[in-house]
């Protein structure tokens, strides 16, 4: 299949990772680049993107030494910066257009960068550590390359037609969160609301599971469908694991993966294939290492690699085979909270997925893991199926959290938990309302950021209430209080402000334990 070069300037999405500590001498600038998407843009374009980024980071440090360049807004593009690790930067460049779906909120784009970085670190450790491990950069580039490409494939906008012309314009298929996602919050996880009885059942289930792991300090996350039922991980780790679970582990993810594999029978990962085909242009100085597989690359985000075993445990060959037993190796990941390396066990029964993380240092290798699995099967599986039954009986389906008349997003910043109107219901809003809400959220983002830079300890002090009657007569509402945020769109509503505040009040009383009530 031939390759049609994309006009560099017209590329809708560019995404790069670079290390400012590298390539400091003239002529060595290429060394800085650790990843560039799409990889088929010319090296000179890559260098110019990184040059501008680095230039602006240096320039803005003149005035803002502690918070250099975060965003560049140009007429046609937005550049979002994220310093993932000291001197390791991620920059995402998106095209913008008022008349299409290319209306962005910078913070939500930055959340994408944060997400991919925390996922990367969860499986590979820090970028810096990989850079230091192998100073030529081959190791880190290879890891980043496969990881990022697998990650970005989740943002591909697909149509059957596009399958046949994959590599013509791979970049154009990336659909990043835009204004229509203004009632979603990345960097949070969603929880299942349960009755007291169910909550107690789940609690005792978690105790049983943890007892299976013996005396070791383990962590557990239980999910029902794509919602968290219980987690004892830190909020940050919960978010990362939740994102991974929803991408690859939950029943929904597994079934999506199997249908994906079916449609891609016989073909390798398209993005990757594409990259390999043009690997020469990707940092040519080490392209060979990328292609010849001299590094063992972990691709935990690769599609279609997880499947459910007969015993109910989820299996994958991502981590390879055990040399001794030639059995599949158990997945391993790092916890942000304890910086500990953990084995990951995932057991699934119908809609319920229980993920157990056990410190590698406490378990006797794969044998130890097998033991724990056995324990879980023996002592917890019955309870798991009971709990699953109970939860699925009470489960209201994907529209369970729909509140008629309201389109809302509720975020608890302290616990990283959010709840929102189901996506299907959000789409009933007009574009006008969503664009206006996107704007309002951007405004609130700025205020939150301002509070941060003004050394306010937390958002708790940033009590804010905004009710905006938009041009199309929709009420747009934002409420921030005590670290919690509520965003709401009420269309076809009465024009009086008091009506709007009453609507919030009612919602707050019924669904938020009065957190946003004014009294």
């Amino acid at each position: 299949m031939g390759f049609t070069p994309i006009n560099d300037a017209g590329e809708p999405v560019n995404f790069c990772v670079f290390d400012l500590r590298r390539g400091q001498t003239e002529g060595q600038e290429l060394d800085k680049i650790l990843f560039f998407y799409p990889n088929d843009v010319s090296l000179s374009t890559q260098l110019s993107v990184i040059g501008l980024s680095e230039g602006l980071i240096t320039f803005t440090r003149i005035f803002s030494p502690n918070a250099p360049c975060e965003v560049i807004e140009a007429e046609m593009h937005s550049h979002v910066f994220y310093e993932a690790e000291p001197d390791v930067w991620m920059v995402l460049i998106v095209e913008k257009h008022d008349d299409s779906d290319k209306i962005w909120r910078m913070d939500s784009l930055r959340e994408v960068l944060k997400e991919v970085h925390s996922l990367f670190v969860m499986f590979n450790g820090s970028i810096r550590a990989l850079v230091d491990k192998e100073p030529t950069g081959g190791l880190v580039r290879t890891h980043l390359y496969y990881f990022m490409m697998d990650f970005l494939s989740a943002f591909e906008k697909r149509s059957t037609l596009e399958y046949c012309c994959w590599d013509f314009s791979a970049g154009k298929k990336l659909q990043l969160p835009n204004f229509s996602d203004s009632l979603k919050e990345r960097g949070t996880f969603q929880m299942l609301a349960m009755g007291r009885e169910s909550a107690l059942e789940v609690e005792s289930l978690v105790k049983v599971i943890e007892s299976c792991a013996g005396y070791t300090k383990c962590f557990t996350m239980v999910l029902f469908q794509d919602l968290v039922v219980s987690t004892n991980l830190s909020p940050v780790d919960s978010v990362s694991l939740f994102v991974y679970a929803v991408l690859r582990l939950t029943p929904h993810a597994l079934s999506a993966a199997s249908s994906w594999s079916y449609s891609h029978k016989g073909s390798a990962e398209p993005l990757i294939e594409n990259s390999d085909a043009h690997g020469q242009s990707f940092n040519s100085h080490d392209a060979s290492s990328l292609r010849n597989g001299s590094y063992s690359v972990l691709r935990p985000l690769q599609r279609g690699k997880w499947f459910k075993g007969e015993d109910g445990f989820l299996l994958t060959d991502i981590w390879g085979l055990d040399v001794n037993s030639s059995a599949l190796k158990s997945p391993v990941m790092w916890l942000n909270q304890t910086e500990e390396k953990m084995y990951m066990l995932a057991y699934q029964h119908r809609g319920l997925t229980a993920i157990v993380l056990i410190p590698v240092s406490y378990v006797m290798g794969e044998q130890g893991i097998a033991k724990v699995k056995q324990q879980i099967l023996e002592t917890a599986s019955v309870k798991i199926s009971k709990v699953e039954e109970k939860l699925s009986r009470a489960w209201g389906g994907e529209n369970a959290y729909h509140v008629s008349g309201y389109r809302y997003l509720l975020v608890d910043g302290d616990t990283c938990v959010s709840r929102a109107t189901p996506p299907g219901k959000v789409t009933t809003l007009t574009k006008e309302s969503l664009v206006a809400m996107n704007k309002l959220r951007e405004e609130v983002d700025v205020e939150k950021c301002g509070a941060k830079w003004n050394n306010k300890s937390s958002l708790c002090e940033n009590d804010l209430e905004i009710c905006l009657r938009a041009r199309n007569n929709a009420w747009l509402i934002a409420r921030l209080t005590g670290g919690k945020e509520l965003y709401m769109v009420v269309e076809k509503a009465n024009e009086t402000l008091l009506y709007a505040s009453e609507a919030v009040e009612k919602f707050s009383e019924r669904y938020c334990d009065g957190a946003f009530s004014l009294n």
């Binding site: 230039g55 602006l56 440090r61 807004e73 007429e75 046609m76 301002g450 009590d463 905006l468 402000l497």
Partner: protein
């Protein structure tokens, strides 16, 4: 003209020489260069006359101001961040008092710029007799133009003098931080920078620091613009923590604001637009032609020639001109509302003023404005001509920031960017008292005597009909006070302001401010392009609080008028500082600030009452019949 040495004009200076020059022009009407020199001479003399006449007064004023500042150090200090980084409030403190010596130089330098420029670009429009004014002022033409070096030394001397009073009075004269550059910590910590540079990266103006030392810095800014332009795009904004870098490209000039004041991008961009327009007020857009001829044209050299002294004047001019302009930006809602405000006077008084202005407007005057500070008393335009509120703002800023206009009648070329950015008009300016002044704008450069006669005619009527005394009265106690807000249709009793400084408890709110916790409001009539705002009452006492409130209004205005999603209809916002209510209809926009604990229902009622109140007094607070369509 660019290469004109000071001595050329110098030869025309001095009292006698000034007269000679005038005679010379009469004899040789074709000698445009001479007449231009004389104009320059004359314009310089306008400013210098104020210097010589008012020198002692100004010194006293300056001294007084310094003393006031030292006494009020605490209040100034609260506006300062560490190491004097917050500079704006300080300027705001001085707004009304800062028209001391430096403004002479503003006038002088701005006039000189005009002349420099005129000769280069707009020369043909000048008739030999255009400087009728020179004849009148010739006798007072000081020898300043002849001694540009001396002028320069005097400026340097002033800066040195200021040094002695640092830090608080450094801004009194010359640019603050004039010795700073981008390597200085203090410079980097300034809260709001403004830069103007040419598209080749040559610095034209910097709010802080020495433009020459900042050449590298403006080249960097230019490089950023070019780099993005080369990619077929145009950079608008860079964000970094609290800082925003806003770019405005007005080829061949580029303007940049670097701010950490928390103002929105749209607000900062609007300020850059105004800054650019203010430059157009002085130069007209014809300056672009210089760049067309030579892309690497050095504008500072146009402004100052090769004369080092002149460019040092530009420093003080730039700073002061901008300083005042920023004061406006911060303190004057007209900068974002795009509306002007009128002084509140009885309708009969305004009608009297309008009638006499209308009389003169018939006779070759394009616009006649009677102003008090930045507020309009009356405004009349020739048929079909309309004056944009932004032009009024910039014109008022130009005139009120230049002390020389106050001390004697002046005739000055001026450009109204929204009216016609390419051409000069001629402004006859005369102050009737310290606050009230008349501007007569004409297209004819030889209209001085005619306008002078018109002014005398106007002055007589104004005195006869007590307009000026009414204006003074209004200045003292004329505004709308929130405590005077009528109780609503059921009761017309107006509570006395003195007894109602604490909000009425009957309204369900007991706090400082007006009814229902009302602190302040602004009302803009969309059709009239005018606004009225209430006087500041407790707790909006300090300049800092006033600035914060205006910035909050400014943010609100921008949200309401969002380019993509707006204009919105109603906006309620409660944060830790205020409850803000905004209501936009086809006819008006209302912005009101309440105590953060205010309840919605009474606040809404109060907003309705405000609208009714403004309607009731609209003949006093607005200039009726000045809208563009009524002539």
């Amino acid at each position: 003209m660019l290469g004109r040495s000071p001595s050329t004009s110098g030869s025309l200076n001095g009292d006698d020489q000034g007269c000679d020059a005038e005679m010379d022009r009469e004899r040789n009407p074709d000698r445009i260069d001479l007449s231009l020199d004389a104009i320059e001479n004359q314009l310089a003399s306008i400013s210098m006359s104020s210097r010589s006449n008012g020198e002692k007064v100004e010194q006293l004023e300056q001294q007084l101001l310094i003393e006031q500042l030292i006494a009020g150090k605490a209040s100034v200090d609260e506006e300062f961040d560490v190491e004097r980084e917050n500079c704006n409030p300080e300027e705001e403190d001085v707004d009304s008092d800062c028209n001391t010596e430096p403004s002479d130089m503003i006038k002088e330098s701005s006039s000189s710029i005009k002349n420099n420029f005129d000769v280069d670009e707009v020369e043909p429009r000048w008739s030999p007799s255009s400087s009728g004014y020179a004849g009148e002022r010739g006798s007072t033409s000081g020898g300043d133009e002849i001694n540009e070096d001396e002028e320069g030394r005097s400026e340097i001397h002033e800066v040195a003098k200021d040094d002695a009073y640092r830090p608080h009075e450094q801004w009194l004269s010359g640019k603050r931080g004039g010795d700073e550059d981008d390597a200085s910590i203090s410079w980097r910590k300034r809260k709001k920078h403004f830069f103007i540079f040419s598209h080749s990266g040559k610095p034209v103006y910097s709010r802080y620091g020495d433009e020459h030392k900042l050449a590298g810095f403006s080249a960097t800014l230019q490089a950023i613009i070019s780099f993005v332009e080369n990619k077929g795009d145009r950079v608008k904004l860079i964000k970094a923590g609290k800082h925003q870098i806003v770019f405005l490209v007005k080829e061949p000039l580029h303007l940049v604001c670097i701010s950490c004041t928390g103002e929105k991008f749209e607000a900062l961009k609007g300020q850059l637009e105004l800054l650019y327009s203010q430059m157009i007020v002085i130069l007209t857009k014809s300056v672009n032609r210089c760049f067309e001829k030579n892309p690497k044209f050095d504008m500072t050299s146009l402004l100052g020639g090769t004369d080092v002294v002149f460019s040092s004047l530009i420093h003080s001019f730039s700073w002061y001109f901008l300083g005042c302009s920023i004061l406006f930006i911060v303190m004057n809602p007209a900068t974002f509302l795009h509306a002007y405000s009128c002084i509140r006077i009885p309708i009969a008084v305004r009608q009297a003023a309008s009638a006499v202005l209308l009389d003169v407007a018939g006779s070759g005057v394009l616009f006649a404005l009677l102003m008090c500070k930045d507020k309009v008393i009356s405004l009349v335009g020739a048929q079909k001509a309309s004056l944009h509120p932004d032009d009024i703002l910039l014109l008022a800023n130009f005139i009120t920031s230049s002390e020389s206009f106050r001390t004697s009648e002046s005739f000055s070329p001026i450009c109204l960017p929204k009216y016609n950015p390419m051409a000069f008009l001629y402004a006859y300016v005369h102050y009737f008292d310290i606050d009230t002044y008349l501007i007569l704008l004409t297209t004819r450069s030889d209209d001085f005597y005619h306008l002078k006669d018109s002014r005398i005619q106007i002055e007589n009527v104004l005195l006869k009909s007590n307009v000026l005394s009414e204006v003074q009265k209004s200045l003292v106690d004329g505004g709308l006070h929130i405590e005077d807000l009528p109780n609503g249709p059921s009761s017309q009793i107006r509570p006395s302001r003195s007894t109602n400084s604490v909000g009425s408890t009957a309204e369900g709110f007991a706090g400082i401010g007006g009814p229902a916790g009302l602190w302040h409001f602004m009302y803009k009539s969309i059709y009239l392009e005018q606004y009225v705002s209430s006087e500041f009452s407790p707790p909006i006492n300090s300049l800092k609080q006033q600035k914060r409130l205006f910035r909050a209004y400014q943010n609100l205005y921008i949200t309401m008028h969002d380019r993509e999603a707006g204009p919105h209809k109603t906006h309620f916002r409660r944060d830790n500082s205020y409850v803000l209510l905004c209501w936009v209809t086809q006819d008006f926009e209302l912005y009101a600030a309440f105590d953060p604990l205010a309840d919605k229902a009474p606040a809404i009622k109060v907003c309705n009452r405000i609208c009714q109140w403004v309607k009731d007094v609209e003949n006093e607070v607005f200039l009726q019949g000045a809208s563009p369509f009524s002539w």
